[in-house]
Structure formats: C-alpha cells, structure tokens
C-alpha cells in the first residue's frame, strides 16, 4: 500500500520529481504514458513483420510454387531459386499467428491503451506500480526480440501452427521447426506471459485503488471497464498457458510424458507412454479462447468511447454495455471446448460447449445493437477514428455471425480447420481488433504525441483497408464451405480444388493492396510525430479526464491537483448546456440531475 499512499502524497507537491535523464525518460521510463508509447511502437514493428509474412504466404497460395523475387530476397536459403519451401510456409503461418495474436493485438493493443488511458481516465498520477509497469514492458520487449531471433535458427522457426499442438511441436524429428526454433518460441512465450501478468495485475490494482474522488465504478468510461475486465481474464487464463508451455518443455527436454504416448516415428518407437495430446488442447484453449476476448474487449472499449464522442451522444445502454462485458468475460472461460469438437473428446462435452458458445452471441448482439443505436440521431463527426469504429462494428457483425455455424458442433464437423474458420476469426477478432487499435491510435495520437495525425491520409487508409479486408476475408468463407483445408502449402497437388484457384488469386490481390496501404498509415504515424499539426488540449471535445491534462507530458499527469469527478463520462449534447459536451470534472448545475445515480 505504500505506493498508493506515495502517489496520493503527490497531490500537493506536484512536479517535484527527481531530474529525468535520457535513460529514465525514454528507455527505462516508469511513466505510464512513455510505456504506452513503447508498447505501441514495439507492437507496430512486430505488426510489420507479421503482415509481411502474411503477404508472403498469400502469394504462395495464389501462385503455388512459382519463383518470386520477394521470397528470394527475404527467405534466403528457405526459397531455393525463389520458390518457397513447404517447411518455411508452415513457419510463416505459425509466426504470423503468434505475432499478430500476442505481440500486436494483446501487447500492442491492450498494453498501449491500458497503460495510456487507465491512469489518465480514472484520474491517477500513474499506475499503482510504475516499476512493475516498466518491468512488464521490458519483459515484453525481451520476448519480442527472442521471437524475432527464432526466425534465424538453422533448422527453421517454430512451424507447428500458432496452437503448437504436440506431438508435432514436441518432436524435432517430426518437423525441422520443432527443434531449437520451438524451444525459443516457448521461452519467448513464457516471458511474454510473465509480462502480461505483471501488466494485468497492475491494471486491476490501479483501477480498484486509484480512482479520483467521485469516480465511482458506474461513472467509469467503458474503456476502463473493458481494460479492467480484460486484465482479470488475463490473470485467470494466461497462467494455464504458462503451465501448458512448461509441461511441453518438460516433455521435449526432460523425457516426461504429459502429452505424448505410443509414438513411432522415423523407424523407431519412442519411450513416451500415458500422456495425451488432448490434454494439451484443453490447456491451450483454456487460455486460447479467452485470449480472443483479451484481444477484442479493449477494442470494444475504445470503440464505445470513440463512437459516443464522435456521435456527440451518450453511449446507448451504458449499463447493458457493462453487463455484456461481464457476461462475455464469464462465458469466455467456459467455451474453450468449441475448438475441440472433433479432437476425440467425449461428444457429450461437445454438446455442453455448443450450448455455452452460442450463449455468448447474446451479449455480443446487445453490444452491436447498442452501438448502432448510439449512431441514431447523432451528429456524427467523421474523424478517421470514427470511421474505424464504424468499420469495427461492421466486421464484428460479419465475422461474429458465422460463429453461429462454427459454435454449433454438428456444423463444425464439416468446416472445422477450413478457410471458413480463417475467415471467421480474422473478421471477428483480427480485423475488428485491428480497427479498434487504429481507431484508438487516431483518437489518442494527440494525447500521446501532442500532434495531430493527417486526416486525409487517415481517410485513404481507412477506405482502402476496409475494402481490402472484406475482399480478403469474405470470399474465404466460400472456399472454406467448399472444403478447402487451412495450412495447405499448395492446393494444386490434387485436382479437387482446382476450381478455387482463381478465388485465391483474388484474395491475394486484395491482401497485397491492403498491406500496401498500411505504408500510408506508417508514414502518417511516424512523420506526424515531428511534422504533424500541433494539437490543442481537447481536439475531439471529449468529456473524459485525459483531455484535462496539458498537451505537454509531465510525470504525474496534472500540474495542479487531480480533478474531481461529478458526472458520468457520456454527457454529450445534454439538454440545458451551451456546449455539446460536459467534461466529467464539471460540477452539476443547480437542479441538474445526473443519469444513473
């Protein structure tokens, strides 16, 4: 509790921090705003690698086994004569998944915005523990470095799919990537999990303890609710993945048989007996499924906030939004089995998981309808952040609806592990979460860097991304329903799918366009740091507390006392006020009634 008291002591003697050096300000910073930027930039760099990988394997799928200069330049010995090797194809798929899910959409999204917004929006000088926060970032950085290093291993990086099911991931003789590459993958992920747990712990403690006077839980912006619940899900489920990774390391290196049994490979019987790969699947998906909500809930929080601000309207059904976040969080921990309908587990379990899985559609539907109603009779400001938020709702609906098919065990039999699954989860959590992240970046860039992003480039970025995202993932549903399995290096080794080759070409072309347009965004992002228009204090005329801090960052956030809060965060266009927004720190007028209290 000393930290708690410590931070509140700053209420009075603000600004008397020890002198900051370059090292403490930019590298080993304990300031949550700097750590947020560090997360964002590391996540962006990892994102560039992940997207580039996807472009490479999409080219291979569209024009199988054709030589390509790009492969020759980037893959070296893995593309003899410019033709991509089948092992490296699987490695690209694996590392793309790992990087995008964990390093970009977990650390890059939740790490950035939880760090930036929790203290600023609840009215705290910093996180509960600035030191743990710094350690959390540097562990994430270390795990990123390790993951990138694994790409340069002699026998190739991990290539067993991002789900690393044993025995494939456990036996170096089953696959080149299951040697040193997989060891580094596991170590990197173990460090990542430690980082994520430290971060989550900090977020939970901060939200519970450090809210400013008047900031009751029912006055919190939905962003904070989303980050708070996400952190709790992370704390509950990430340790289970850690245990799975540790047991897998034991099986690989110390001869235990947690996941392996009765294996004959390359002419010899291995000693393993009594283990089960299905156990690994249970442990993996016990995190793996909540993980998709760890990715999507922060995006939902950001989108709710941005939609309300830019519609100049309160978010519709604030309490229902909180209730649905809680319902989704609870259900997310009891649906993991829907990834395992055809794993060989008892079919009765399949029935149970079908039931719980389809229930999750209810809170999701409530959220979607509430966002749509928030737009109704608004005064919608089409800032780039708002476009990405609307795009988020669109892809979340499109992707979410096909969950009705995949969550239904009887239907899953035939589309399991096909392109239908790829289409579903990329739209509902990949693209949607990415849109949430972009929306957040466009909206809070002025807060992070003190300058504005160029809106014209933002518009071009959104519209081309939006068209190519649908162009890539919508047709994928159809090749999936036609039975095309995922993770196939080539679809032309037998003729059954020859008629789908042209669809794959279309998809790849959209993927290249979508990837290329991100260059505009990256230019905008990095150039605006130095040349962007200087931001005013509250450019979006928003109600939340972060916009009451000065544009120039200072450790401790507010130069004076921390503002007190008198109202919820969605007083937009409230009758009886001259402006169309009333910040949370403005006291109620005489006779004014507060909603929800």
């Amino acid at each position: 509790m000393s930290t708690h008291a410590d931070i509140h002591a700053h209420d009075d003697d603000h600004g008397h921090h020890p002198k900051e050096t370059f090292m403490t300000k930019y590298i080993f910073s304990q300031d949550h705003k700097m750590i947020a930027k560090q997360y964002l930039i590391t996540g962006t760099l990892m994102g560039i690698i992940g997207v580039l990988m996807s472009i490479m394997f999409r080219i291979q799928i569209a024009w199988p086994e054709e030589p390509n200069i790009l492969f020759e330049a980037l893959l070296g010995k893995w593309a003899p004569g410019g033709v991509m090797d089948a092992d490296i194809y699987l490695a690209l798929v694996t590392i793309h998944g790992t990087i995008m899910v964990f390093f970009v959409l977990t650390a890059g999204l939740s790490g950035t915005f939880s760090n930036l917004l929790i203290p600023l929006q609840i009215g705290a000088r910093d996180m509960a523990s600035g030191f743990l926060n710094m350690v959390s970032y540097w562990l994430f950085f270390l795990s990123s470095i390790l993951m990138v290093c694994s790409l340069f291993v002699e026998a190739g990086p991990a290539a067993a799919g991002w789900t690393i099911y044993p025995p494939l991931s456990a036996l170096p003789m089953a696959q080149g990537g299951s040697g040193l590459g997989m060891t580094i993958w596991l170590v990197s992920m173990a460090i990542f999990i430690a980082s994520s747990l430290l971060g989550s712990l900090n977020y939970v403690v901060t939200v519970i303890n450090l809210r400013t006077k008047g900031m009751s839980m029912t006055r919190l912006p939905l962003t904070i609710w989303a980050f708070f619940v996400t952190a709790i899900i992370g704390l509950v489920s990430f340790p289970v993945l850690l245990s799975a990774a540790l047991l897998l390391i034991m099986d690989r290196s110390f001869g235990t048989s947690f996941f392996l049994s009765d294996i004959f490979i390359q002419g010899e019987v291995l000693h393993y007996q009594g283990g089960s790969p299905v156990l690994f699947e249970h442990l993996f998906w016990f995190l793996g499924h909540p993980e998709v909500y760890i990715v999507i809930l922060p995006a939902m929080g950001l989108v709710s906030e941005i939609m309300a601000t830019n519609s100049r309207k309160p978010i519709f059904g604030y309490r229902a939004m909180i209730a649905s976040i809680l319902a989704i969080a609870f259900l997310s921990t009891i649906v993991w089995g829907h990834h395992m309908f055809v794993s060989g587990m008892n079919p009765f379990l399949g029935s149970v998981f079908t039931f719980t899985t389809l229930l999750i559609a209810i809170p999701s539907a409530v959220k979607a309808f509430n966002w749509i109603t928030t737009l109704w009779r608004g005064n919608i400001q089409m800032n780039p952040a708002m476009l990405f938020s609307i795009g988020f709702v669109s892809t979340f609906i499109t992707g979410g609806l096909t969950g009705i098919i995949l969550g239904d065990s009887a239907l899953d039999i035939n589309v399991h592990d096909t392109y239908f699954v790829i289409a579903h989860f990329h739209l509902v959590m990949g693209i949607s979460a990415l849109y949430g992240m972009f929306a957040g970046i466009y909206h809070w860039y002025p807060k992070m860097f003190g300058r504005m992003l160029n809106k014209k480039m933002g518009y071009i970025h959104f519209w081309i991304t939006a068209i190519s995202a649908y162009g890539v993932f919508f047709p994928m549903h159809f090749i999936g329903m036609a039975g095309l399995p995922r993770r196939y290096y080539s679809n032309s080794s037998f003729p059954l799918f020859d008629d789908l080759a042209n669809v794959n070409v279309v998809i790849t072309i959209f993927a290249i366009i979508g990837g290329a347009v991100q260059i505009i965004y990256l230019y905008n992002f990095f150039a605006s740091m130095f040349y962007g228009k200087k931001a005013v204090q509250n450019p979006w005329r928003s109600t939340t507390l972060e916009w009451t801090t000065p544009v120039e960052h200072l450790h401790g956030n507010w130069p004076g006392a921390i503002p007190h809060v008198y109202r919820w965060s969605y007083d937009y266009s409230k009758p009886g006020h001259d402006t169309d927004f009333v910040p949370q720190n403005v006291p109620l007028k005489e006779g004014e009634e507060e909603l929800h209290h």
């Binding site: 309808f369 592990d417 549903h477 039975g483 993770r487 037998f494």
Partner: protein, 355 residues
C-alpha cells in the same frame, strides 16, 4: 493471364487512390488545415458509408453467384449429411437476414446522421424496452438453433454397434493413410505402435498373436459398400492428423495413443456421384481449367495435366508437417457385390507377413 489481371487491378487501385486524394483535396479548398473533421469531411465520408454498404451487398451477391453453388454445400454423400446441410441452410438464412439488416442500419445511420455545424444530437441514453427486445430475440433464435444443433450432433455421434456397422480402421502417419478391415469376423485385432516390425512387414503394429488379427486386411484405399453403416476407428502413429471426409460431412482427429471414431452411412456410390449434375458441372469446370493450364505448360515444354475424374477423398486436416498439404486417400463407395468381390481379392494379415 493472371499477371495481366494483376497489373490491371493494381492500375485501377492506383487510379482509385489518386481520385480519392483529389476528392478530398477539392473538398478542402478554402478550409484551414485543421485535422478535425469538418462538415465537408462528414458529408463525403457519409456518402462513402452508403457506398460501402452497397459494396458489402454486391460482394455478398457476387460470392453467392460465383461460388455459392458449391458441390460440397448441398449434396452430401452420407445419411446424416443431409441433416447437417439442412441445419447449415437454416443457419445461413438467419445469418443472411441479420447481416443484411444490421449492416443497413449501421451504414445508413452513419450516412443519415452525419454531423453538421449547429446541429445537436439527441440525448438518448437508455431504453429498457428496446434493450429487452434485442436481448430476447437472439435468445429465441439461438435457442432454436442450439436445440436443432444438439439433436443433430447427438444423432451423428451416437454410433450404436447394434446396427452391425462395418468396422474399419483408418491409420494415419506422416504423410499417408492406411486402412485395416476386420476381415470375416468384422473384428479388428489388437494393435499398438510398439509392435511395429518393419522387417516382417507388420507396418501397423498389429498383434500377431491375436486370433482376431489373423484375417485383418490392410490396404491403401478405403472401399465402402453403399447403404451400409460404417464405423471408422482412427489411430495415428506419430503426430496429430485429422481425417476430413468433406463429402460425407465427416471429420475426426487421429490422436497418437488413443483410438477415436466416427460413424456414417454412405448413400451414393462413386459411380452414381459422378453422374449427378453438380459433379458433372464441377468436373467439366475443373477440366477446362486444367486444359488451359496444360496449354501454358506445353508452351514451356512441360507435360500436360491429366484430366480430372471425381473421387471421394479423405484429406488430412490437422497440421502434421512438411507434406501436410499432400496427404490424401481415395474413398471408393461401391455396391455390396463390387465390395465383396474387391475384398475377396485382398491378402489377409497372416499371409502378408514376411516370415
């Protein structure tokens, strides 16, 4: 051809980007370089929202017209398959309706309520009736789907041995499939990978001492008699594989160290399947594509592609290593007589061993 198409598309995109920049540029004339959206931005993007709605609808229609009439969507070759297809159709209709309506509302509202200076939004934060409605409607629809789904699932997965199904073992290894029949007693002999003896050609690790194993038959093609229930028992010797038989709406993982199973009844022979209009159309289409490709190959001095003839396949559908993409086996569904004649020709396990 593809290269040409690519260039054309890239060109169109470049023009589109250029045009969009121009549109935004024209809209900015006389306005300060403020980076917050103004009325003109709101208007342009509002219209683009409407355009995007049309784009989603057109894309949906195009996908259904071009690729929606999929051979695998509506002509199941197994008894339970048509039930699965019915449920699939119902789910697709629900999805289609909800998708069409919600996307309309989202994009239309974005268009209709675009921001204008001086306009004030409606302070409208709650409506319990509305929220109750859109909680209850999904509850009802989903209940229906859950109940239907669970009945279908249970009826597929509850294989009863009373129907006297044909017992077949599907054996997976990197990167091929083997099949073992129970022989005259329709009972599989015991087996474990520890019993594999390559020198004696006991490749599946069948227990040589087990009396039930003696008449087992090991082959590399799955033959099934039409109309007879089959119970497929699955084993894997090395890593996870998945036996995916899309035409039969059947899939189950093959897990080292345990036996998994999936039962179904094939309802149409391979020969009859080849005569269905959907398959004829699909095969013609594929053969046209292959002929075109063959012309390209011939120009390069390479051998032409063989023409395609339809066969049921079992595909590996769980990532299993380098040649995962090329791990498939033919399934031949035939009449009982044809099947009997075929199986009579195969060698029994006891005779296949090298002594």
């Amino acid at each position: 051809m593809t290269a040409f198409l690519t260039i054309i598309i890239v060109l169109f995109v470049a023009i589109a980007i250029w045009q969009m920049v121009k549109i935004f540029d024209l809209a900015q004339v006389g306005v300060s370089d403020d980076q917050v959206a103004n009325d003109k931005d709101n208007k342009i993007n509002a219209y683009l929202m409407l355009g995007f709605l049309i784009f989603i609808y057109v894309l949906t229609i195009l996908c259904f017209v071009l690729w929606g009439d999929l051979p695998l969507m509506s002509n199941a070759a197994s008894e339970h398959g048509s039930e699965v297809d019915n449920l699939m159709m119902i789910s697709m209709i629900v999805i289609f309706v909800v998708q069409t309506i919600t996307q309309f509302l989202l994009h239309f509202f974005a268009y209709k309520y675009r921001g204008e200076k001086g306009k004030k939004a409606l302070y409208y934060a709650d409506n319990n009736t509305l929220e109750a409605i859109w909680t209850i409607i999904p509850v009802i629809v989903l209940s229906g789907l859950i109940i239907y789904g669970l009945f279908t699932w249970t009826s597929i997965m509850n294989v009863s041995e009373d129907d006297d199904p044909l017992i077949v073992e599907l054996y997976a290894q990197q990167f091929n499939w083997k099949v073992r029949y129970g022989g005259n007693d329709n009972t599989l002999g015991k087996a474990n990978v520890r019993l594999i003896d390559i020198d004696k050609a006991n490749i599946l690790g069948v227990d040589e001492a087990d009396p039930n194993a003696q008449d087992d038959i090991i082959v590399t093609e799955l033959h099934l008699p039409v109309g007879k229930p089959v119970l497929i028992k699955m084993r894997s010797q090395d890593v996870l594989h998945s036996a995916y038989m899309p035409h039969f709406r059947a899939q189950m993982n093959c897990v080292p160290g345990m036996i998994t199973q999936f039962g179904f009844t094939p309802v149409i022979t391979t020969a009859d399947m080849r005569l269905t209009p959907e398959i004829i159309e699909k095969v013609d289409n594929i053969n046209n594509i292959r002929e075109e490709k063959s012309i390209e190959l011939a120009a390069k001095g390479e051998a032409a592609l063989d023409p395609y003839e339809f066969d049921f396949l079992v595909l590996c559908n769980k990532i299993c290593g380098k040649s995962h993409y090329n791990m498939q086996m033919k399934i031949i569904v035939e009449t009982q007589e044809e099947y009997d004649a075929w199986i009579a020709e195969q060698k029994e396990f006891k005779d296949s061993l090298i002594k």
